[in-house]
């Protein structure tokens, strides 16, 4: 890397509106060599620059098994994401990464996998989910539990149906508040546990979403017999450099951008400031 903090230019290939304020972008490195050389694991993130507005971390939402172009799913919630949402196909942004540790995919081989996501927490899990589907025979049963505030806040609506059609997969979706056209489950994500059979002994659970949702889901999983090491989550903090230098994302002496963002619940419990 010529410069640890220097972004590379990438072009927006496509954009897709997931919800009124969430959009998925497909991005391609402009330099063919960089595109070819880019490798990552699910759970890692990118520092995405909107030139003139700074950069911010976004998890990679696409699977490394799906070619060298990458996808990020972005919710509008600040100056940079406002600026990003004004861009479209053909426009250029900056990319730097991949950053962070990512999920240990090999450790999941042979296991049943439970994915629990809330709201905008689905994108990092989506990367892993596609990765699993593309290597389907290496893994056991897959259960996907997903919840959002309202039906219109659900992301990847079409893909949820795709996933359901895969072999040996259970997908359950809930919303906190019902809305027009919704005849599915209503309630917070943990209510979905009553709709599925989980085998704690053979499973790994991946939990991603808002802090409060993670807290309740983790409690539930532990109560259902999951070992803390087998419940895996991602942590979020304000980040700037993404390479373990700037100190914004520290929890104690751990740097979420280098040691994380993926941790198992035992590690999280042992973390302190």
């Amino acid at each position: 890397m010529p410069n640890l903090l220097l972004p590379s230019v990438a072009t927006i290939l496509t954009q897709r509106d997931e919800t009124p304020d969430v959009r998925t972008y497909a991005l391609r490195f402009r330099d063919p060599d960089e595109r070819a050389g880019f490798a990552f694991t699910p759970g890692q993130f990118l520092e995405l620059s909107v030139f003139g507005f700074g950069e911010a971390p976004f998890c990679l939402a696409s699977s490394p098994t799906r070619g060298p172009d990458v996808e990020v799913t972005v919710r509008r919630c600040g100056r940079l994401t406002d600026a990003l949402h004004t861009l479209g196909p053909g426009d250029e942004v900056g990319l730097r990464g991949p950053c962070g540790n990512g999920f240990d995919v090999d450790a999941a081989r042979g296991k049943d996998l439970v994915f629990v996501a809330g709201g905008i927490g689905l994108p990092p899990l989506r990367s892993l989910i596609w990765n699993v589907f593309d290597r389907r025979r290496e893994f056991g049963r897959v259960t996907i539990l997903y919840g959002a505030r309202t039906p219109s806040d659900l992301v990847y609506k079409d893909e949820l149906r795709d996933w359901e059609r895969q072999a040996d997969v259970t997908v359950r979706v809930t919303v906190d508040r019902t809305g027009p056209g919704w005849d599915g489950t209503v309630g917070m994500v943990p209510v979905l546990f009553d709709h599925v059979e989980l085998n704690a002994a053979t499973s790994l659970a991946y939990v991603c979403g808002p802090p409060i949702m993670i807290k309740f889901v983790v409690q539930d999983l532990l109560k259902r017999g999951f070992a803390a090491e087998h419940v895996i989550s991602t942590l979020e903090r304000m980040m700037q450099c993404g390479v373990g230098k700037c100190n914004h994302c520290c929890v104690g002496h751990r740097y979420l951008c280098r040691d994380g963002p993926v941790f198992n619940v035992r590690e999280i419990t042992e973390m302190w400031e």
């Binding site: 890397m1 010529p2 410069n3 640890l4 903090l5 220097l6 972004p7 590379s8 230019v9 402009r30 620059s49 030139f51 003139g52 507005f53 700074g54 950069e55 911010a56 919630c77 600040g78 940079l80 994401t81 250029e92 900056g94 802090p211 979020e236 903090r237 304000m238 700037q240 450099c241 390479v243 373990g244 230098k245 700037c246 100190n247 914004h248 520290c250 104690g252 002496h253 280098r258 302190w272 400031e273």
Partner: protein
């Protein structure tokens, strides 16, 4: 034959050496500002260099990590973005740096080289030659003996000078230092054993200045690292901190930063790295509005955990404090390093009254 690493230069010859250095390199040294303060600034004449001075309030870290550092220019040309790294390659000499500051520069250099190396900082460090002036008379507020960063150095310098009165004892620590001495080699003699003895006596005298007192960093560090500092203690100490961030600004080892782009004009913008402070509550404020570290005491705890915990000591191989005493001078409240360390050690807080 390999030249000895210890030399001597007559006081009357120092300016000539400096003139040679100035001929080849940019020189930054403590000098008198227009307002009468002492500060590190580029000098143009050997006479600008101060030899008897109070260590400047602003440490020389800005020459390794500028307060606002352009990293890259973004230019839109023919509809395409061009990312142009900012190239800065100047051979610079930091002259008459104090021991604490030289240790701090080494701390920063190691920090940026560890794990993922920051090549920009590495290059700047490589082009920086550090000439220290050992502290024969330690400064009033310093406590470098407690943090193993002075008053004399055994490492972290390219050249270490010791004032022997009529001459300076010259220790060459690195090849960069050797090259600097080599610019005017004829001015230096090999040190005699008598010179060495005078230098060692000076160091002993300097250490004696501190007396038997140290601030017992080790015991405070053990308490911090084993979570034995009560949250209430941080909480009550934080009432005596005015949140100004002054300590982090003048701290020679503080290096928190943010990255920001200048407002775009005509499709152009500059990405900069800026000093930040973990003492500002918005340091951890996320775009969603969530802030995991809002309590004032939490922020203080964070600062001292980073400066003085075994976890960081293990990672860094050094204490994150060099005992320069600047935070004592700059603190608007009473929560400077020695006062807080004492409070942690005793487990009680008296508002800094013992130090009043």
């Amino acid at each position: 034959m390999e030249r000895s690493a210890t030399r001597v230069i007559a006081r009357s010859d120092v300016n000539e050496w400096l003139a040679h250095i100035l001929h080849h390199r940019d020189v930054i040294a403590p000098t008198r500002s227009p307002g009468g303060d002492t500060m590190f600034a580029p000098i143009t004449s050997p006479d600008d260099v101060l030899w008897d001075f109070e260590n400047p309030l602003a440490p020389p870290k800005q020459f390794l990590l500028p307060q606002t550092e352009p990293l890259a220019h973004f230019r839109r040309i023919d509809g395409h973005m061009h990312v142009e790294p900012v190239a800065e390659q100047r051979e610079r000499v930091l002259f008459n740096v104090r021991s604490c500051d030289a240790s701090a520069l080494a701390f920063l250099r190691e920090t940026y080289a560890r794990d993922l190396a920051d090549d920009v900082v590495e290059r700047r460090a490589a082009s920086l030659t550090v000439v220290t002036l050992a502290c024969s008379v330690p400064c009033e507020l310093g406590f470098c003996v407690c943090t193993d960063a002075g008053p004399f150095l055994r490492r972290d310098f390219d050249v270490q000078l010791t004032d022997l009165g009529d001459a300076f004892f010259v220790e060459v620590g690195t090849d960069k230092g050797r090259a600097l001495v080599g610019l005017a080699d004829a001015l230096f003699q090999d040190a005699a054993s008598d010179d060495q003895a005078r230098r060692d006596a000076s160091e002993l005298a300097a250490r004696a200045h501190f007396g038997g007192e140290t601030c017992h960093f080790g015991s405070a560090m053990r308490r911090i690292s084993t979570k034995r500092v009560a949250d209430e203690l941080w909480e009550s100490m934080s009432a005596w901190c005015l949140d100004c961030g002054g300590c982090t600004h003048v701290c020679p080892t503080c290096y928190c930063f943010s990255v920001s782009d200048t407002p775009p004009a005509d499709g152009c913008s500059t990405r900069c790295r800026l000093w930040d402070s973990c003492q500002y509550s918005a340091f951890t404020l996320e775009a969603t509005g969530h802030n995991p570290r809002t309590a004032h005491g939490e922020r203080m705890k964070r600062r001292f955990h980073h400066k003085a915990s075994a976890q960081y000591f293990q990672r860094d191989g050094r204490v994150g404090c060099v005992g320069c005493g600047r935070c004592v001078k700059v603190c608007m409240g009473t929560t400077d390093m020695p006062t807080v360390i004492a409070a942690i050690r005793h487990g009680t807080w008296d508002g800094g009254r013992a130090h009043a």
